[in-house]
Amino acid sequence: MSVIVDIEEALKDRLGATIAGVPALVRLMRKTDNSVEAVPVKIESYPKQPSDQLLLTLAESGAVVVRYTGSTYSARRDVGAVSVQDRVMVYEVLVFSKSLQDRNSGAGIYELLDLCALRVIGYKPAGCVDGIELIRDDYVEEQKGSWTYGLLFSVKTQTIRVV
């Protein structure tokens, strides 16, 4: 396994977990009998072969997609038998939705973005040495009424070699 994958999996679990005081990531679907059902928003890794059609499908159902965007490393510290570099790993949560703000459906993209941020801020996945720091969120694209926004954040790990 890779640290990158381990953390990505932990992030997906966190986004889908029940957290006290933080609303779940759901969209409300009205059924044919006019009753309303809360359906969890899909939480997935970024598609291996993303296509416009696939991204439109994600927006149609409302989805949150996690991907790793890269790392930066500090200068190396060599002390005795220990070599260490701090690693800041950046992940992006892409949020897909058909609507920007839709309080009735519970799946407007603004609300999903805020809920994703609330779910990850300060969270420390296993193997990390500090909690998540939010970096920014921004507009990615709009296609045929389907919106995509991204939320960028970082986690800190260390690459350590002991001789």
Binding site: S74, R77, D78, V79, G80, V82, V84, D86, R87, V88, V129, D130, K156, T157, Q158, I160
Partner: protein, 146 residues
Amino acid sequence: MSHVQKQILDRVVSDLTGLSATGSRVYRSSEHPVTTATMPGLSVSLGEELAGEGSISATIKVVRLTVLVCVEGDDFDVSTKVLADIEAALYGDYSAGRYVAGLALSVLYRGCSREYVTSTAVRHTRLTVQYDVEYQTMDGAAETAL
């Protein structure tokens, strides 16, 4: 034999190894790894040396001892406990009017700076503790403390 500076550093590292909070996490270095596994921990180094008073054939030398204390988080309780342990260990190594296993004429506390560092992956409190260690050698015999 080795230079008295090295003998002093070896002895100080030995004195500071096994303290209650820092244990065996003592590094002979001016840098610290700053990982969760190495904190709370110490890094011990010697710096600038100046000539003090002396006689015609002997020189008193004053070398700056720096102990870097790294403690995870913004922790005042542990860091001050480590400070107290260091002071007790250094001044406790005293017999027959000499310090540091008889190598030093005196050990003088010179101060301590405190900084909370957030720029590393592991946020930590960093104390830089400084002492002056005074010793004397015959001129031309830097490996034997008088």
